[in-house]
Symmetry: C2
Subunit: 337 residues, 2 copies
Amino acid sequence: MKTTFRPLVLAAALTAVISTPTWALQPNNEPISPIPAAKVTNPAMVELGKKLWFDPRLSKSGFISCNSCHNLSMGGSDNLKTSIGHNWAEGPINSPTVLNSSMNVAQFWDGRAANLKEQAGGPIANPMEMAFTHELAVDMLNSIPGYQAEFKQVFKKDTINIDQVTDALAAFEETLVTPNSRFDKWLKGDQKALTKNELDGYKLFRDNGCVACHNGVAVGGNSFQRMGLVEPYKTDNPAEGRVAVTGADADRFNFKVPTLRNVELTYPYFHDGAADTLAEAVDTMGRIQLGKKFTPEENAKIVAFLKTLTGEQPQLTMPILPPSSDKTPRPEPFAKK
Amino acid sequence: MKTTFRPLVLAAALTAVISTPTWALQPNNEPISPIPAAKVTNPAMVELGKKLWFDPRLSKSGFISCNSCHNLSMGGSDNLKTSIGHNWAEGPINSPTVLNSSMNVAQFWDGRAANLKEQAGGPIANPMEMAFTHELAVDMLNSIPGYQAEFKQVFKKDTINIDQVTDALAAFEETLVTPNSRFDKWLKGDQKALTKNELDGYKLFRDNGCVACHNGVAVGGNSFQRMGLVEPYKTDNPAEGRVAVTGADADRFNFKVPTLRNVELTYPYFHDGAADTLAEAVDTMGRIQLGKKFTPEENAKIVAFLKTLTGEQPQLTMPILPPSSDKTPRPEPFAKK
């Protein structure tokens, strides 16, 4: 390794290694492991979760669904710096991809939700996002015969509650994995899966220390790290990261390391969405996290490697949502408060 | 027929009959004919059109796609009184369903677009809807290698233009038909496809004159008629209908008769979206168009019949959109003008 690691970086790298036992388990000793295909154990719950995922009636306006900001046609993201919420609210932070999110150590950039189920309830009730309440969402669902029947079939209860809603959403999200990227094929031994240029890019990525944080099955997502380890990260975005959850000053500007799976599709990058392109993101990361200025050639090679992390996207048949009944409260997109 | 037709209604009925030769051609002499399945002649163009349909990059914000207001999970509509557009603009009129829209005599409530191709360019450039321009939309598409290749394959040209975009969108929309509703099965001779209650509802619908306007393959969509024939329709909605296109005073409050196919899914009803339920819509229509007050029993039977018009919804695999390149202009959802 030619890179001079700063002590903080090394510490971060070691933490990552310790919390990522997969590192040592790879077939060819690489710090990244292939994504396994999703195992669907409860297809009825997954199907119900898919309906909820695409149902804008979970928002006050009847217009915003989970898929609005985590669009499964666009890498599970909205490709916006920060998202658009109820009443065109400008979101505070970049929407992370839902793809492979089951592999994250926790959910949200600051990790304030322990898992997908806990996360799923957040946006529904966030006044800047779907602007609904759990109570209203559940009332809506209970008023729809098609949902009543489907929830009953899945959960064996007569009444729908928010716990069932978030369980079903999480079950669906767990299926949103992207196996068989070209890089995974290479990891599994297919030497022809990558070009020399891409493999050079991977070696630069690995040997310059990017893998200190971006490792494991999701190439990230498994630790919190400081944004601006070597050099401060300049941004107008007020988010302070993990400190909002732990209250610990040491966690200020610590954010969950994003997965790099499908990173070609999940632009723009960083918690503030400030980097429009992979080239820019690689340049900034090298500089502020590793104290390294990649040459244009190195940068291009790393970008070429990153594009090999695009896996098979979930093939989804759009659900047909059960219609509202006469009793279903109608959405109020233009209500003044 | 027991209904006393008012002269205007009769005239309307006759016009409809004359412009709907299918009336006389039905296997069992009914004024409604079954929907044939879609014939796909150019699958590559349809597939491209599907991508465009779901692509929010055709809007200024990068957030609004065709599917936002004509949601194929919800009967091809948004189930809102009027739609939400760029910057949360309150739309002027209820979004009609895209399902079976190829059967319409013209597009939009006032028929200002002759066909689907002509319609498709409208919302993209409407400042209250997608708020983009055709030029910017085409620049965006031309900057994306995946689209470049796919357009070239379909249209055999090196450069993408708006004509190709609307051609592809229209080709996709033409596939969005909903055959094999229970009513169509009955029309084709399956006597068990309807319950007695539903069949009674159909006879009420037919024999009270609803079929004067709601006839043909789409159960509507094939003529313009005055909203408030017998009794004025009261609404705060300023739309004046067909007069906006023809300038003829006789066309004031003439609107395209909406299709009743899948009407169970396309609530709320009327050009102003004022009727939340089918019961309300049937009641209002009977009163203001036919001068008829349906009893609650009659109303319920007609509603039961209308629900048999729900056909097989298009089974769509969500497209995976080609990612933007470094050169693709980024959407500006929060730009001040």
